[in-house]
Amino acid sequence: MKNWKKLAEATDLRIPESDIEGIAPSLDTLESAFRPLTKKIPDDIEPAVTFCMIPEAGE
């Protein structure tokens, strides 16, 4: 499992150690459920988010 405490420190998130300990089990569970799913994504699948072009002024 990931070392969430070191990860928080490395990214300067300033999350107190006791709070990291509190959330680590949830993150571990999420990590173990999510990681295998990512292996199944075909290369040609794009994210389900849309980017909307904003027309330039005067158009």
Binding site: W4, L7, A8, T11, L13, R14, I15, P16, D19, I20, G22, I23, S26, L27, L30, A33, F34, L37, T38, K40, I41, P42, I45, E46, P47, A48, V49, T50, C52
Partner: protein, 463 residues
């Protein structure tokens, strides 16, 4: 009394909007100290709106079925000149200079805005146990949560304070309080109802919809609030339909999918029984019950959690260093989101696309899907785990397990009260439909309601 009944009484001059409004204010005065459902009561402006509604109706300037009807909106909807807190101390003094599109539309429909409903802090949780504005309570049992995050909306509608209250739903936040409080609650299709002027929890999972005491009241409200809004980039141009089911509407030959996997696993037996009994009632009305296997909903929920954690934390990034401003449950979720890598977020959105395609294949075989809304009735305030037969499960994860995935898919879903458990607490049926087919799920729900599926009025509401 429902919106339809009140609207009829208004037009028959059997009652005035001013009288409905005074009755609602009296009700709030009596019950709100106990339930804490309404955060801000707008007595003066509500009286003035009611007076104007009566004058318009007297000169036959009729704005439709919501004209003169007292309502509330969750305190996530911006209201011009009226404090909008999002249940957070950060926005304790936020007074918007605009109305949300939904509020604009409800005002245009003549509704009387009686107040702002309380909610879980920042709409990020299911208990509505708010550390800044107090605990919101369930009118069926004041020692139990009303659900959330639209807990004030559910509590206010079930206790007869208002006829309708708007909610928002990112991972079940309309349907969960609807199920726990015994009201109808609709999460429309993504893009069907504008998000403009609604304080966001999440960019791609938020949906706006009503909680009411009847299916047709929900349909009436949807007709008033649905439609394209150029101020919301995700708003759809799909035409708005006629949503209010005809009296005596039929569901003959409607194909109802009953999941053989996931949705009936780990349930309170009373919930299982109530939902299956309702499916049997639908079959007796002529619908066809079709057993189906649904795609991997556990995986869908995991994807939904990654997206929500990442988007919500991104949204609140500028506030989180001041940790004292947040309740511990909400802060823990923000911390989790900040620790997820960007690649996980992108891959969650890719998985979302895959799962939308997988789920869409179901619609060739069925017209709608029946599931329980929640695996159990309302838990007690402070409970961290729920016991579901032989299983014990975290309350938040259990309450969102059957509803969260539908937000990831963007599908319309309604929660309909379908029975009481052994303690006399409401149980909800969730009906999920095709994209933009709100009319069908409302029709099915109305036919069931017409046939007697439902629950008695909440005792708090009739005391």
């Amino acid at each position: 009394m429902t919106i339809i009944e009140a609207a009829q009484a208004l037009r028959q001059r059997a009652v005035s909007s001013a009288e409905l409004t005074e009755a609602a204010l009296k009700r709030i005065g009596e019950l709100n100290p106990k339930l804490n459902a309404v955060l801000t009561v707008l007595e003066e402006s509500a009286r003035s709106q009611a007076k104007a509604a009566d004058e318009e109706l007297a000169r036959r300037a009729d704005r439709g079925p919501l004209h003169g009807i007292p309502i509330a909106v969750k305190d996530v909807f911006e209201t011009r000149g009226v404090r909008t807190t999002c249940g957070s101390v950060i926005f304790m003094h936020h007074i918007p200079d605009r109305d949300a599109t939904v509020v604009e539309k409800l005002r245009a429909a003549g509704a009387v805005l009686l107040g702002k409903a309380g909610m879980h802090e920042l709409a990020y949780g299911i208990t509505s146990n708010n550390p800044h504005f107090g605990t919101i309570r369930n009118p069926w049992d004041a020692d139990r949560i009303p659900g959330g995050s639209s807990g004030g909306s559910g509590s206010a509608v079930a206790s007869d304070m208002v006829f309708m209250a708007m909610g928002s739903d990112t991972g079940g936040s309309i349907r969960i309080p609807a199920a726990f409080c015994g009201t109808v609650g609709l999460k429309p299709t993504s893009g069907r109802v504008s998000r403009y002027g609604v304080m966001p929890l999440d960019f791609s999972l938020d949906h706006m919809g009503p909680l009411t005491r009847s299916v047709r009241d929900t349909a009436i409200t949807l007709e008033a609030i649905a439609g394209f809004d150029p101020r919301d980039e995700t708003s759809s141009k799909e035409p708005v339909g006629n949503y209010v089911p005809e009296p005596g509407c039929s569901i003959r030959n409607v194909r109802i999918g009953l999941p053989q996997n996931f949705y009936f696993e780990r349930l309170d037996p009373d919930v299982d029984m109530a939902v299956r009994r309702t499916a049997a009632a639908a079959e007796a009305l002529g619908a066809r019950i079709i057993p189906v296997r649904v795609p991997d909903i556990d995986a869908l929920n995991v994807v939904g959690r990654v997206i929500l954690l990442a988007e919500a934390s991104a949204l609140m990034e500028k506030y989180v260093d001041n940790r004292d401003q947040f309740g511990s449950d909400v802060l823990a979720l923000f911390d989790q989101g900040r620790l997820l890598p960007a690649t996980d977020y992108v891959n969650a959105q890719r998985l979302r696309r895959m799962m939308q395609r997988e789920f869409a294949q179901l619609w060739s075989r069925i017209d709608c899907l029946f599931t329980p809304t929640t695996p159990m009735a309302a838990p007690r305030i402070g409970d961290r785990t729920a016991t579901l037969g032989p299983f014990t499960e975290d309350v938040r994860l259990a309450a969102t397990r059957l509803v969260r995935g539908i937000n990831v898919l963007g599908l319309p879903a309604i929660s309909l009260p379908c029975g009481l458990d052994r303690r006399g607490l409401p149980v909800g049926l969730q009906i999920v439909g095709r994209p933009f087919d709100e009319a069908l799920i409302l029709q099915v729900a109305a036919a069931l309601e017409d046939s007697g599926i439902g629950i008695p009025a909440c005792q708090t509401a009739v005391e």
